[in-house]
Subunit: 279 residues, 2 copies
Amino acid sequence: MATGRTHRPATRSRGIPEATVARLPLYLRALTALSERSVPTVSSEELAAAAGVNSAKLRKDFSYLGSYGTRGVGYDVEYLVYQISRELGLTQDWPVVIVGIGNLGAALANYGGFASRGFRVAALIDADPAMTGKPVAGIAVQHTDELEKIITDNGVSIGVIATPAGAAQQVCDRLVAAGVTSILNFAPTVLSVPDGVDVRKVDLSIELQILAFHEQRKAGEETGAPEEGESAQAAAQDTVPGAAAVAQTPLAPHRAASGAGKDNGRQGPDGDVPAVMPA
Amino acid sequence: MATGRTHRPATRSRGIPEATVARLPLYLRALTALSERSVPTVSSEELAAAAGVNSAKLRKDFSYLGSYGTRGVGYDVEYLVYQISRELGLTQDWPVVIVGIGNLGAALANYGGFASRGFRVAALIDADPAMTGKPVAGIAVQHTDELEKIITDNGVSIGVIATPAGAAQQVCDRLVAAGVTSILNFAPTVLSVPDGVDVRKVDLSIELQILAFHEQRKAGEETGAPEEGESAQAAAQDTVPGAAAVAQTPLAPHRAASGAGKDNGRQGPDGDVPAVMPA
DNA sequence: GTGTGTGAAGCCTTTCACAGCC
DNA sequence: GGCTGTGAAAGGCTTCACACAC
């Protein structure tokens, strides 16, 4: 590795840390809310509170984008909205396909936040012939056979996989072969993709398990041995007093996926292909 | 801060890094798959590939749990499954309530991975009287009025919020007041919670925006100025050759939430209360 | 020989604290 | 006086590389 990033003239550097990128959408949402309330400017302290981070972090984050604030005053809301949108690439239109129109796929298709952020559902795709033609969220579901054509015709570069785990790798391969270079994966599988393809993973089961871990710890503390409980628990507390222990959408290590793609044809535990993203 | 963690006799230390905790479910899933194929032992290299991480990280992670491997051989699959399950608190039963039975709530209710990991859907709750009594995933939906009673009667400590953003904070407050201490939030809002309550956030819109950011960068590189593109892109590549740039469920800073709970009554952009988790 | 367990090094992220500009 | 922008310090996570156990 020995990546670049080392020194770089601060001139609007291309080198925004992943952790910062992951928080930009948070700021953007808070700013959008302010914008709708016609708030003209906001301080780092206020915005940070609205976004659920601390102000030092926010200022540092913004410093990677440039100097968009005014000392002694704060940030211009509209201007920041624009700058962050541009940085995130939301000023352009991103056609998206959703593959796997089960309960989850339907939920995603109905998700209002799509359109408002530059994303457009270009197509819904499902392998079940019975689904073909059925309208979901006002869009007729298309059969998997059409996948390649849909991707090409619409110039889709972002795909969402909401299929059962057993189908995910195969769908992924087809998406990638057809030209998709970013994938949001809801199936509980490790996808292996070629170089240059981004995959992000959302996994309900994992989130719950992490919660259970902390929950268990709490229970253990109040009951049996208080021991030296400080570690995880105590580290909480941030800017605001009345709030703690919240893990916001965390940062993204941006690391490589596994291979071992072989046994991906296998299904997880549970019955065969439960309604939505089996474990 | 100056947290503990400093030195600690390696005796099954209480101080597993958050990043490690976030990966345990990944290992557990891979191990479960191996277990079903009756694979008796596995090396760090193999398991790491199956889980989509590199082997050094995996070994380091396991070292926080204890020395469960055998040098020159590997790890006993069944034993590891048990140890990780125990560590995550999955050997006990966790009753869970899901609040907000729209498209997403229904998807979650139908999610097969619940039961198989020690989680049990104790109740489905929705504010719409028309939903009350309707069976979803074999469970009759109950009205929000019953929320407190349900929590208490079932000893629920984990709640899932799948309501529109406008309702999330209020639901959260009621859950917490009734005794819930861990919340998985699908609504695109910053929840403010009292000390000692864990919140994890899953947000589709944010994930897509992060993808768009990288996607935009790719486009910029191949088209206009190749500049000094290496930064983000190059940092990819891990263990396996044929795979890169995957951001697996990232680590969790485990930080405090915002206040500013005031304007949470406000709705996001988009129409009013779209089907599922509006932006 | 093989593969784990782990100190040490390196990198990234967060936090601090204050100079500088309005 | 207030608030941003940012070096510097601190902390945490990942990677390296090798001793050690089987």
